[in-house]
């Protein structure tokens, strides 16, 4: 994905569903490993897919705090759902990776890096909030003083095929975070699904290479109007909001607000919100040796500020209560992230609300703090 290479004023084209089915073959021929939505474990997850039949045709997701259910749609929409338990970070920043290897030899320790053959992914079905999340993780892994080589290798090769939302879940609040639901930047191709096919916007040469291998027509005015109406439907369905006015100062000047005690009574400190968050990037690094101690691997795993041990340093725990850990997570996500990276760490996808086992809703926590400032 190379941003900024916008094909000048390329008019949107129309891709029929028959032609769309051939997309998978085209992507394979271009040596992409296609990751996209598919049904598994009673949810729409992102996984390796190989044909149009793997897509969740005719299914949607119903979401509320602490609850996610699949439901049959009354049409054959392929992308008629919102977002699920997985995000694209699984592929760019894998949950477990080996960073380096050391072997004890007669000549002393030999260090090596595991083979770095970065997979070439095509991400199919990236939502607007997720494009924003990719941009935020780019900032973390690529634009700071230290570049993450694994993320970089995967990210640079990835093809991003965005799909505009045509509906919203009750947990969505991308309009508050100004990240969606319309896909505006950060993709190679953007699709809007209509009953007969897709209106496709092509912005990069990589996207063009894919779309040129398929038969398309110029999108008619009617196609474009239909697409606009479908996208508007998503905007209209968003009911959840988060008032972000001066949110940094609001949270940082209310660090002793009684709401933190209130949320600590409900929070399980189980890490689910951080794991499903498409921008959370914390990890821990450990050395793992075999029984002889002659072969050691340096392993990086997803970790979370909700873990007791995560703040262990120099003989003690820095955040030794659920209250402190929830406050750390939320103030970082919504306030100090702005100091650190220049944007909010929240994209309004609502995953942390849906996948919290007890349904804690950060938009309500912020509202409660705003309502009664200390």
């Amino acid at each position: 994905m190379s941003e900024g290479l916008q094909a000048a004023n390329a008019p949107p084209c129309f891709l029929s569903k028959e032609q769309f089915a051939k997309l998978f073959k085209v992507l394979r021929a271009l040596e992409y490993d296609v990751i996209g939505p598919t049904i598994d474990q009673e949810a729409i997850v992102y996984d390796r897919i190989s044909s149009i039949d793997d897509l969740p045709r005719g299914w949607t997701d119903i979401q509320e705090p602490g609850k996610y259910r699949l439901e049959k749609r009354n049409d054959d929409a392929l992308f008629g759902y919102v977002v699920g338990p997985h995000s694209w970070k699984q592929n760019l920043f894998p949950p477990v990776t080996t960073l380096s290897v050391a072997d004890r030899t007669d000549e002393g320790w030999q260090f090596s890096e595991p083979e770095q053959d970065a997979p070439k992914f095509a991400f199919l079905g990236v939502r607007a909030c997720e494009l924003a999340a990719l941009k935020i993780q780019d900032r973390v892994f690529l634009e700071g003083p230290y570049i993450d080589p694994q993320y970089q290798g995967r990210r640079n090769q990835a093809l991003v095929i965005a799909v505009n939302c045509t509906q919203a879940a009750s947990t969505c609040f991308c309009t508050s975070m100004k990240t969606g639901p319309r896909c505006k930047a950060g993709y190679d191709l953007a699709l809007t699904e209509l009953p007969e096919g897709f209106v496709v916007e092509v912005v990069t040469p990589q996207g063009e290479a894919v779309i040129n291998a398929l038969e398309t027509q110029i999108a008619t005015e009617e196609n474009q109007n239909q697409a606009e109406a479908a996208r508007q439907q998503a905007v209209d369905q968003i009911t959840r909001t988060m008032d972000t006015t001066d949110i940094r100062d609001l949270l940082m000047s209310n660090l002793e607000h009684p709401q933190w005690d209130d949320v600590a009574e409900r929070c399980l400190s189980c890490t689910n919100c951080t794991m499903v968050c498409p921008t959370c990037f914390c990890s821990s690094v450990e050395e793992v040796s075999d029984l002889t101690g002659d072969h050691v691997e340096r392993e990086r795993q997803w970790d979370s500020c909700f873990n007791v041990d995560f703040s262990y340093m120099n003989g003690g725990l820095v955040r030794n209560s659920i209250r402190n850990r929830y406050r750390q997570w939320m103030t970082h996500k919504l306030a100090t992230w702005i100091d650190q990276f220049g944007t909010s760490g929240c994209v309004g996808c609502g995953r942390c609300i849906t996948w919290c086992p007890v349904g804690i809703d950060l938009t309500q926590e912020v509202a409660a703090i705003r309502e009664k400032q200390t």
């Binding site: 997850v45 699984q90 009574e265 029984l291 795993q301």
Partner: protein, 262 residues
């Protein structure tokens, strides 16, 4: 350098945790090479008396004889480590704690006067100083090897204390509670099994005991709101780790609630 002497000792238990060591197969040979296994009746007829550098204790204390035996093993051992839910939390047999043991014996045995048993099943740490507790029912063999390895290398063991949820997420398992409404103890249970049950579409049974600072009340309150009955919730906590304080207190709170309502 002389190899450290390792002894494995059994108290009230099902032997499953000791079997985890035998199940380690390929790694077991490496263990056998690194330590001198001098007392492991389940595996070998070689039985040597102490002192031991490392003692692995399986099982809980349920008889007066065992309460004495553990004192001697402690005196004989440099590093004493419990393996499994019985030794660490009292095990499933701690379900009888608080009940009338004499009545149980009269119901089960023809001549109960031959049985000498304590009223409670208690973890080893209630009797002697324990240097390390390895959780699980049964323990995870890789964690056991890891702890032995860390002792040999003189470093801290990698036995994380985070919740089972983190393991589900790392392996890509979709939350069974959120997506299917299945009751699950994962959010309050310590990691160790690599989140097996949810990957087979089942809720977590809490085999590894309470995670640090577990919020049992919040999980119960939410589960009850979603339709779990107080009795079901209490029973889910009355399992292998029923005597672990966090699980015990919450199941007791729910039981008291049920009694008040009746």
């Amino acid at each position: 350098m002389e190899k450290p002497k390792l002894g494995v000792f059994k108290f009230a238990s099902c032997d499953g945790c000791q079997l985890s060591l035998l199940d380690a197969e390929d790694q077991l040979l490496a263990v056998a090479g690194a330590v001198d296994i001098v007392h492991f009746p389940e595996a070998s007829s070689r039985i040597e008396s102490g002192p031991y550098d490392i003692a692995l204790i399986e099982g809980s204390i349920t008889t007066p004889h065992d309460a004495e035996r553990i004192q001697q093993i402690r005196r004989d051992s440099k590093f004493l480590m419990t393996i499994g839910a019985c030794a660490t939390a009292g095990g499933i047999q701690a379900l009888r704690n608080g009940a009338d043991t004499d009545e149980f014996m009269r119901a089960v045995y023809a001549t109960p006067e031959y049985i000498q048993v304590l009223n409670k099943s208690t973890p080893i740490a209630e009797h002697v100083k324990v240097d390390f507790e390895l959780r699980g029912c049964p323990i995870n063999q890789y964690q056991l090897i890891e702890v032995i390895q860390s002792l040999l290398a003189g470093r801290n063991p990698r036995t994380p204390k985070h919740s089972v949820c983190l393991d589900c997420k790392r392996r890509g398992t979709v939350c069974v509670t959120v997506a299917q409404g299945t009751a699950c103890l994962g959010p309050v249970t310590q990691s160790g099994c690599e989140a097996i049950c949810p990957s087979y579409n089942r809720g977590c049974y809490g085999c590894y005991g309470p995670a640090p600072q577990p919020n049992l009340v919040s999980l119960s309150t939410h589960s009850l709101k979603e339709g779990t009955s107080p009795a079901e919730m209490a029973h889910s906590l009355q399992n292998f780790n029923v005597h672990a304080p966090a699980f015990h207190n919450e199941s007791q709170r729910l039981t008291d609630q049920i009694e008040e309502q009746n």
